[in-house]
Amino acid sequence: MQTATLTDVTVNAGHLGGVVKLRGASAAKMTARDVNVYYGEAQALRQVDLDIGEKRITALIGPSGCGKSTFLRCLNRMNDVIEGCRVTGRIEMDGEDIYDTALDVVRLRARVGMVFQKPNPFPKSIFDNIAYGPRIHGFANHKNDLDEIVQTSLERAGLWLEVKDRLAAPGTGLSGGQQQRLCIARAIAVDPDVILMDEPCSALDPIATAKIEELMDELRTSLTIVIVTHSMQQAARVSQHTAFFHLGSLIECGDTDEIFTNPQDERTQGYITGRFG
């Protein structure tokens, strides 16, 4: 077995006995330290330490119920709205504690967008779907600005050519794949730094999935992406970093190539070779 190349390690020294080895991380956009999440009495996440590399795609993998979505929702504080959910530990974005009481959660969610498992466009027109975010955040003061934002967002989401003639049509009338790209465009429209995706392709067919994956690869040049996926192939295809969760703990994380070719933990190995999950 080959040992890890420790040239570019960014382990936070002296933290919790270094359960987690951080390998191949770039400059971290977000860092999570000692994150515990409880739903009422039940603990869903235990002492998770993870860095999210800037302008990289980080894939969160692991068996169902291991806490991937829970962790993802910690990153834009969507857990705040869940009754009885409690988060401890420290999560920083650009060195700023996002759970700081002084921080405005609305501002945070504008910087950390989210795409959900089931495409959930608003039951409004395609235009209004995209324009809603810029409107509430006061990005666009003129109709022209708004038109421009809508167009560029749709272009970046690879949807412009398909919908440019029917911007007034309801977003819910698009196909599943188009709806999901519309949701991505909606997230992009408020110009976030990070986009969180929770199994964005699980409701889509292979062709629509391929389009979304292509899109993610393009977005990577300007955005940081964290994706939860239950498809190992997808994680291998799109991500640069992979984090493997099991029973609420982060077992292993590092470069995707490394994780898939040379997992350090036998649970990781078991999962990626399909022995459980």
Partner: protein, 434 residues
């Protein structure tokens, strides 16, 4: 284990034999038949109910009228030829009618007979003559053929509600009145006309002059107050409880109490209104304002419960989507959840309003059961409402009020059908846009 049972146990195959299948189909057919029978029974009962009401009530939409040759005698109306409206108003038009009837039947000389004769015409007929003169004083001194309403008994007789073959002693319309009626009829001096009075007048002791307009306006004013109070309060309460209230013992308690309130008998709200609104706050009796307030208390739980259900029915994905791009909680609710819940809330409100429209018990408690002739002009005028009017008429001894009662029920039903249809249209129109 599975291997073992596969080897030892008999091979299991679905039993697709004809007998078994046909038994399954027969069961399904039977079930459908039961369902159909249940629906038919319900429909039949409804049909009988509505049929009876219509059969009883349709005659109330018509009114028998008698033609009289009225001589607008200047000596009687305006002896000094002043044309002063006060004089014209105060004139004794009853005399003109009496004379006209006597002119038709000169053979009647007995004083009591004469009185019976002039009572064939409605006591409200003189008002019609007064009206004619007030509008056009030049009629004074002329002679005119005027159609006036018959009395309620003659009306009932003309409609066949009082029958000829009953012995004279048991009949409200006596033999000689029938003879006069037949004479008038043969002279084409009897006709049946659409009864506009029924739709334009307030209540009256005389059935032929009684109408439901007063009750309709009373109901309208009362419901307006109910709507103004219960809709905003109910919707705000629903939104707050569903979206913003912390989930703790207090909100649980409030929720339980709202559900209880929805089940409280309506008369209790009436008693509450009597004790609090009338006795404590000293608000006017019999007023739509107080009636509306009482009904608002009654409707509020319905609206809150329907509103919360409508908010709950909005898929959480919509809320998540809004929050996910940085909408505040209030924005997510107001921009996305609330508009989607609105049709449901409106439906609940209309159903609550329909309940309120049909409610009578609590209004009896606050005095809306009084006999009120005038059509109410405002929220504090004494008024009654449709269901109470029905109750009042159903309680009246006059034969003609039986038809009026059924006719009023028809009007109430028409309003209820319109309101419920509105609820259905709203639901259809906004159904599942997500």
């Amino acid at each position: 284990m599975t291997d073992a049972s596969n080897v030892i146990g008999p091979e299991r195959r679905p039993d697709l034999s004809g007998a078994r299948l046909s038994r399954r189909y027969a069961a399904e057919r039977r079930f459908r038949l039961y369902g159909l029978a249940a629906v038919m029974t319900g429909a039949a009962i409804l049909l009988v109910l509505i049929g009876t009401i219509v059969a009883n009530g349709y005659t109330a939409f018509f009114q028998t009228e008698i033609a009289l040759e009225i001589d607008f005698d200047p000596e009687t109306i305006d002896p000094d030829a002043t044309r002063d409206p006060e004089v014209l108003r105060a004139a004794n038009y009853q005399v003109l009618i009496r004379r006209a009837m006597q002119a038709r039947f000169p053979q009647v000389t007995d004083r009591r007979e004469k009185r019976t004769l002039s009572r064939m015409v409605s006591s409200g007929a003189s008002l019609k003559l007064q009206d004619m003169i007030m509008v056009d004083p030049d009629l004074i001194g002329t002679s005119r053929r005027v159609w006036v309403k018959s009395s309620d008994d003659i009306d009932s007789f003309a409609k066949g509600k009082i029958r000829r073959d009953v012995p004279d002693a048991d009949r409200r319309v006596k033999d000689r009145e029938i003879a006069w009626f037949d004479t008038l009829d043969s002279q084409d001096a009897i006709r049946s006309k659409f009864n506009t009075t029924f739709f334009t007048a307030g209540d009256s002791r005389e059935p032929e002059q009684a109408g439901i307009w007063g009750a309709v306006i009373g109901s309208f004013l009362t419901l307006l107050v109910t709507l103004m109070l219960s809709f905003p309060t109910g919707v705000l309460a629903a939104v707050y409880l569903e979206e913003f209230a912390p989930k703790n013992r207090w909100t649980d308690l409030i929720e339980v109490n709202i559900n209880n309130l929805a089940a409280v008998p309506s008369i209790v709200f009436g008693l509450l209104g009597l004790a609090v609104f009338l006795n404590f706050f000293g608000l006017p009796r019999s007023a739509p304002l107080v009636g509306g307030m009482v009904l608002a208390l009654m409707t509020l739980p319905t609206i809150i419960i329907a509103g919360r259900a409508a908010l709950k029915a909005v898929p959480p994905s919509v809320r998540e989507a809004a929050l996910g791009i940085g909408a505040s909680h209030l924005q997510a609710v107001m921009h996305h959840v609330f508009p989607l819940a609105m049709p449901g809330m409106l439906t609940g409100t209309i159903i609550g309003m329909a309940q309120a429209l049909g409610e009578s018990a609590p209004l009896l408690m606050i005095g809306m059961v009084a006999f009120i002739v005038d059509v109410p002009g405002g929220f504090t005028d004494p008024a009654t409402v449709l269901p109470v009017q029905i109750y009042l008429w159903a309680d009246s001894p006059e034969r003609a009020f039986v038809a009026k009662t059924s006719a009023a029920i028809m009007v109430l039903l028409a309003f209820l059908i319109v309101m419920n249809a509105m609820a259905v249209v709203l639901r259809k129109r906004f159904e599942r846009r997500w």
